[in-house]
Subunit: 112 residues, 2 copies
Amino acid sequence: MARAPTTTDAFNAVAEPRRRQILDVLSAGERPVNDIVAALGLAQPQVSKHLRVLREVGLVHARDDGRRRLYRLNSRPLKPIHDWIQTYEASWNDRFDAFDDVVNDLKREEGR
Amino acid sequence: MARAPTTTDAFNAVAEPRRRQILDVLSAGERPVNDIVAALGLAQPQVSKHLRVLREVGLVHARDDGRRRLYRLNSRPLKPIHDWIQTYEASWNDRFDAFDDVVNDLKREEGR
DNA sequence: TTGACACATTCCTATATGGACATATATTGT
DNA sequence: ACAATATATGTCCATATAGGAATGTGTCAA
């Protein structure tokens, strides 16, 4: 099987940094596509495609306004991510873990 | 360009449900690969490959113990996800957003 | 009506996946 | 030395990207 489609859930949709940027822009309020294009410095079709993905997982809503289309954030689908990750929140203050890991990896590489 | 590799960051690594399951198993403590294989009901090579991805983004550490290899959780790389998502935590209690979205999508589909 | 504008969709390509399967490597017990 | 065990790696394949470029569709203004 291949990687799960980006439209599978918020986890996959949000793995793409551009899409996170789009949500960041929309967190300030409803915006037309062009504003997002300007904010990201990305080509319009690419932005539209990212917006499609975000729409399909319900992270944004579209509303027609003349020849423009206004997009609005809906952060609800992010909740499962928050819920899942909250379990781990307590435990990321170990200081030597990263170091241990590097040492271990080096050992293995040298062993080859 | 293609989709960013799963080893790019925690966002991408954790988009795969099996890898989240692995972290969930490891949250109970250090475990050998076989335990994870048993817990996930997945074939051993697949588990090893998922563990490789998790190692490369620093979400787990490996420690050799005889012929076994013990894996341990390091939740630190999850922090950026938590930090990013926390911004949105306040705003996911709108009740009619999902409904609006469905209506809008139906309108567009019918228009075709 | 015509043109300009805003946005969406389609086609293309390079790239990476996740699982199935086979095989390599290392360690232990006998 | 050898077999069994634990884990990692490599190969194959179907599938889905993300961006670039071109094109389609709908709406406004003159």
